[in-house]
């Protein structure tokens, strides 16, 4: 321990922002794009990128995937054209875990894939081994379990059916104990990935991504202070697409500054993302359903509801909670709001959970039986609602 402390005296730890800039800034205009474009067409749009820094900076521009989680929080960590599995539990030496998923092979019948996995504690990052090209000729059963000190994940193609759907198995063999695991698979092109068995982990992918349809005129630009540059974005819509798809275009400043004499290199990164939605006109399906309504607590009152977007376009949803007592009187009538808005947005295929609770100074509901009506207006023909009866004791 003494040795460690002596060593620590020499530890120099620096947190980064910037060294040689007073102001570092990036601006996209517009803030977001919502494009209507026919399937099978190619269109080019102009975006405006501005350097708000007081120095000349180089901005890297690239496309990524994103989604929202059940609480409406943006998740930018899903790999583009890929999928992510996360496990919070501990794994022990000798564990064998199999994950299964399918991919729809492109017309050419094969697609390349690469993957990595990262344990959280202790931390290690390794590549997934095994089949790197998914096709019918790559079908191979997973290797029988072989004890090893090394933790490995092997990819195998189990089958490819007549429709070109390939079944993939990821086999995790645990060498040394660890806790927490993230697995990422990244395909060479946009492809539909469906989880069959996530082995208890969470699974995320963006099956309605348009990232692969977008090409940019500039992967990188260098701009003077307050200089703006038009970036051409070409969107090639596939011929058989319906509904909406989405991605995000990042403009990221990267400043490499010299250290302060201690040899420390400092990086400063500011990134602004422009979300891009593309929708095939005339194919929009707006649909939703209330998955559940439940009381979190009755004193103070807090009612939650989950709304699922079962259509194929993003929905803008207004929500309202009414509490009705046994006499039929409406004793609560509250509209949902967040970020100063009276609505939330939800991507197709997603679920959003919202909770409406009494303000701290509200008197509690008297003892009795009540009905909670959570209604959602998403622009459809009529509102939909979920109802839940509950008792206040």
């Amino acid at each position: 321990m003494t040795i460690r402390r002596v060593r620590a005296l020499f530890l120099i730890l620096a947190v980064v922002t910037s060294v040689n800039l007073c102001v570092l800034g990036v601006r996209w205009s517009p803030a977001e794009l919502d494009l209507a474009q026919d399937p099978g067409t190619e269109e080019t749009y102009q975006l405006l990128l501005t350097n708000d820094s007081d120095e000349r900076v180089t901005l890297t521009i690239y496309v990524g995937d994103w989604q929202r989680d059940e609480n409406g929080i943006n998740d930018f960590g899903v790999p583009m054209n890929g999928a992510r599995w996360e496990f919070t539990q501990a794994f022990s030496s000798g564990d064998l875990v199999e994950l299964r998923y399918t991919v729809q092979l492109p017309d050419e019948g094969s697609v390349d894939v690469q993957g990595t996995f990262r344990s959280w504690s202790p931390q290690m990052i390794e590549s997934i081994v095994g089949a790197e090209q998914i096709s019918s000729s790559a079908i191979e059963q997973p290797d029988p379990y072989v004890s090893s000190l090394w933790t490995t994940i092997t990819r195998s193609v189990e089958s490819v059916d007549a429709d070109g759907i390939a079944s993939i198995v990821l086999t995790l063999r645990v060498g040394l104990d660890f806790e927490g695991l993230t697995i990422e698979e990244t395909y060479a092109q946009g492809i539909q990935i469906i989880s069959l068995d996530a082995a208890g982990g969470s699974f995320d992918t963006v099956n309605r991504s348009n990232a692969d349809w977008i090409s940019l005129s500039h992967p990188q630009v260098t701009l003077d202070p307050e200089e703006s540059r038009e970036i051409a974005m070409t969107v090639t819509m596939p011929p058989d697409y319906s509904g909406s798809s989405w991605s995000i275009i990042y403009a990221e400043s990267r400043v490499v500054a010299t250290g302060d004499g201690s040899g420390t290199q400092i990086l400063t990164l500011a990134s602004v993302g422009m979300k891009v939605f593309t929708t095939a006109p005339g194919t929009e399906v707006m649909a939703g359903e209330v998955t559940y309504v439940r009381e979190q607590t009755t004193t103070p009152l807090a009612i939650s509801a989950a709304f699922s977007n079962t259509g194929n376009v993003q929905l803008v949803v207004n929500s309202r909670l009414q509490i009705i007592d046994q006499t039929g009187e409406v004793v609560r009538d509250v509209r949902f709001s967040e970020y100063g808005r009276d609505y939330f947005r939800i991507l197709p295929g997603s679920q959003r959970t919202i909770t409406i609770a009494d303000e701290a100074d509200m008197p509690p509901l008297p003892i009795g039986i009540y009905q909670a009506i959570f209604s959602f207006d998403f622009g459809g023909d009529s509102d939909i609602a979920g109802v839940r009866a509950f008792r206040v004791k």
């Binding site: 321990m1 460690r4 402390r5 060593r7 620590a8 020499f10 530890l11 120099i12 730890l13 620096a14 947190v15 980064v16 922002t17 910037s18 800039l21 007073c22 102001v23 800034g25 990036v26 601006r27 996209w28 205009s29 517009p30 803030a31 977001e32 794009l33 919502d34 494009l35 209507a36 749009y45 102009q46 975006l47 405006l48 820094s53 409406g72 929080i73 943006n74 504690s121 931390q123 038009e230 990221e252 302060d260 201690s262 040899g263 420390t264 290199q265 400092i266 990086l267 400063t268 990164l269 500011a270 990134s271 602004v272 993302g273 422009m274 979300k275 967040e338 970020y339 100063g340 808005r341």
Partner: protein, 262 residues
């Protein structure tokens, strides 16, 4: 100006996504609608009053009769932005597009428009309507006017450059020598701010150890339309065990701050 201008405007309305992003590069300070000449005589932003002035002259060789001139105001310009006291008498109209309707009474007439705030100048539509309801002739053209630049979202790091920690001399709580100030400017509410770490650490160091003992704290903020300043503070809180994963050397914690619409 062109017979099909109205139809083209409607088409533009359907394609409003990206086509309204930029200020047109060609100024249109004078235009002709029939025998009527419209000229933008003055355009000025008064910083002390935070308002913008557009002055037009509308003139013709003959005295107008039942004639109105309409200047388009884009969707981003609300009626309350128009300073009624300073602007020439007008009525707010939605046809053939949203804007201000001025009645012509003289051969040469000056129309003044005052808008609260600072407005860029760009190509706006205008119309000349002659006749009475049901028997109107409409001419449509373009002139420089108040312009909706479009939405935007920006992130600035306005302070907090060169932040470092004091030497880590043992277990305990270490504060960075200063905070970072982020400024988010968004044309709409509901934006999101996140960050990710990218570590550069000496050989033999555990990234998880650094991640565990590093804490980034943002001041509360409301993701509303406009500008928000956010303070970011940093602490390191190593325990005795952490030192086993921290060999001597230089450590860099790269932080990418990411902002986007919700």
């Amino acid at each position: 100006m062109l017979p099909n201008r109205l139809a083209r405007l409607m088409t533009w309305g359907l394609l409003l996504v990206s086509l309204s992003l930029f200020v047109a590069s060609v100024d249109v300070t004078a235009a002709q609608l029939g025998d009527v000449t419209i000229t933008l005589e003055d355009y000025k932003y008064r910083q002390n009053k935070d308002r913008t002035k557009f002055v037009y002259r509308v003139s013709s060789s003959t005295r107008p009769n039942d004639q109105a001139w309409i200047l388009e105001l884009g969707d981003c310009i609300l009626p309350e932005f128009v300073n009624e006291a300073l602007t020439s008498p007008f009525t707010w109209t939605e046809e053939p597009f949203q804007g201000l309707r001025f009645v012509r009474t003289r051969r040469s007439q000056k129309f003044v428009v005052w808008l609260s705030g600072q407005w860029d100048k760009g190509v706006a539509s205008m119309a000349l309507i002659t006749g009475t309801a049901g028997n109107e002739e409409i001419l449509i053209g373009e002139i420089d006017g108040p312009y909706c630049v479009g939405s935007s979202i920006a992130l600035e790091i306005t302070a907090g450059a060169g932040i470092s920690f004091p030497p880590i001399s043992g277990p305990g709580l270490f504060l960075a020598d200063q905070e970072t100030t982020l400024r988010v400017t968004s044309s709409s509410s509901g934006w999101t701010l996140s960050h990710s770490l990218d570590l550069t650490i000496p050989t033999g160091a555990w990234a998880e150890t650094v991640e565990r003992m590093f804490l980034l704290t943002m001041s509360p903020f409301a993701a509303l339309e406009g500008t928000a300043d956010i303070q970011v503070a940093y602490t390191l809180n190593p325990n005795e065990e952490d030192f086993g994963g921290l060999p001597q050397g230089d450590y860099v914690i790269g932080i990418t701050f990411v902002v986007s619409t919700d």
